[in-house]
């Protein structure tokens, strides 16, 4: 069992970096997408909604394959890692855009009014008044999403990225001890998700403290 653990741990680096990179891409791209989703222009709003809903309705494994075979087979050769990160990054952007949007819309109307009445320019209003409150609201669902993403990152193994699931599959083929091996894989995934879950709990707590005036 320790042998299996040792073997599977080799995949932790890929699992974590695929998840982290995809999440980072999503966290950055999700923001402009959320703002487009709130645009005053109906067409822009609908366009953003279409992109978000489309990406969200395709299974991650299909998205990753699409990226791998389309972008990856063109002029630029994409490695399995890059293909997985791009595919999962696009999915993350779509989900996080909606999470950001919900966070922004949760900020009380009085906050917008006070910022406007105080003549704060739009960008300053977002940076100093709206986003600090919106992000706090967004952290718990974003952390929940990150845990889901960590699990979804296993799809990278089907295009050959050497993550936890990849090594688990390889070991199980070689040793026929599938149950033990995949139990070890499960434990690894749980261990990795614990800190993220902790963050979610902590921010939830901080939030409830602030709301209770």
């Amino acid at each position: 069992m320790l042998d299996f653990a040792e073997s599977l741990v080799r995949g932790v680096g890929q699992t974590v970096s695929i998840t982290a990179c995809a999440f980072l891409i999503g966290a950055v791209l999700g923001f402009p997408l959320a703002l487009l989703r709130r645009s005053r222009n109906v067409l822009v709003r609908w366009g953003a909604a279409l992109v978000i809903d489309t990406v969200r309705s395709i299974p991650p494994i299909v998205v990753v394959f699409l990226v791998f075979y389309s972008v990856g087979s063109g002029a630029v050769r994409l490695g399995t890692f890059q293909a997985a990160v791009i595919g999962l990054g696009a999915i993350s952007a779509a989900y996080l855009a909606e999470i950001y949007r919900a966070g922004i819309e949760s900020v009380a109307s009085g906050q917008w009014e006070a910022a406007n009445a105080l003549a704060l320019p739009s960008r300053k209003m977002y940076v100093h008044v709206i986003l600090p409150q919106a992000l706090l609201v967004a952290i718990p669902p974003a952390a929940t999403f990150a845990i889901g993403l960590l699990k979804d990152s296993a799809v990278a193994s089907v295009i050959g990225a050497q993550d936890i699931t990849f090594f688990a599959f390889q070991e199980s083929q070689a040793t026929l001890q599938g149950l033990t091996i995949f139990l070890v894989a499960a434990v690894l995934y749980i261990a990795l998700s614990l800190p993220v879950a902790g963050l979610a709990r902590w921010s939830d707590h901080a939030l409830s403290k602030r709301v209770a005036t």
Binding site: Q111, N116, L118, A119, P121, R210
Partner: protein, 259 residues
């Protein structure tokens, strides 16, 4: 032609609608420099809507707002009136302070930072000048000791005074109050009313929507009674409060006094 009037604020023919529901009907109102006007009337009369149209939190769909003789909220481009952009509205709003029923302090910032923020990012003051000014304004409302507190750790009355300090730090020409004490227990409301009373004594021009009839009678120079989106009656405070001429005003005042 030079501006000869002492009017600081002039509302002409203001109409406010939500969707197709008109709630303020062709209101004219002039407020002189240093004058304190109390806006009273039953709930739903359109008092808040009228007040909020002054700083364009609700954009009036008809009429003109003039502050210090300057028309605001529209830009005359080759003689045609087009709605003002955000920057032009901000230019207007920095001269008009507003205090809300629900305080609307920024919950993630300390009292001091609440007062500093718009000075730095709206007026472009240096941080040190803004901090110094914020200290003065908090002292002015008697809350120096709360500087580093978050709003949530302050009482409602303290929060509202911080909100007043936040507005005053912007050097407004005019202060708008929308039922500033309605969310407060009476004893906490009194601290806020006392702060406002002092502000009035110092010569600030104020428009106050209020249900505090004592405050209206004692502090306001003029009382304006609104019902159904229109000004029904206005005049010197003692006159309107004690000898209302209109039947609608009489009904409202006796209902309030018998409460």
């Amino acid at each position: 032609m030079p501006v000869t009037t002492t009017a600081l604020l002039e509302l002409r023919d203001i109409c406010v609608s939500y969707k197709h529901h008109q709630v303020v009907h062709n209101v004219d109102l002039t407020v002189d420099r240093g004058e304190v006007v109390a806006l009273i009337g039953p709930s739903g009369a359109g008092k808040s809507s009228l007040l909020r149209s002054i700083n364009f939190l609700e954009e009036p769909n008809q009429g003109q707002v003039l502050l210090a003789g300057q028309r605001v909220g529209v830009l005359d481009r080759r003689g045609r009136a087009v709605p003002a952009n955000r920057r032009q509205l901000a230019e207007h709003r920095r001269h008009v302070g507003m205090v809300f029923q629900s305080f609307n302090l920024f919950p993630h910032l300390s009292a001091l930072e609440n007062v500093i923020l718009a000075q730095v990012h709206g007026l472009g003051r240096s941080r040190s000048a803004a901090r110094e000014r914020a200290r003065q304004e908090l002292e002015h409302v008697g809350l120096s000791d709360k500087s580093n507190m978050r709003p949530a750790s302050c009482s409602g009355g303290q929060q509202q005074r911080i909100a007043i300090a936040r507005a005053l730090a912007m050097d407004p020409m005019l202060m708008l109050f929308d039922e500033p004490t309605s969310a407060l227990d009476p004893e906490l409301g009194i601290e806020v009313l006392n702060t406002m009373r002092r502000l009035a004594d110092e010569g600030m021009t104020m428009v106050v929507v209020t249900h505090e009839m004592h405050f209206a009678e004692e502090v306001a120079d003029r009382v304006v009674f609104m019902a159904d989106g229109r000004i029904v009656e206005q005049g010197p405070a003692s006159e309107v409060m004690n000898n209302p001429r209109h039947e609608r005003t009489q009904r409202f005042l006796s209902a309030v006094k018998n409460r």
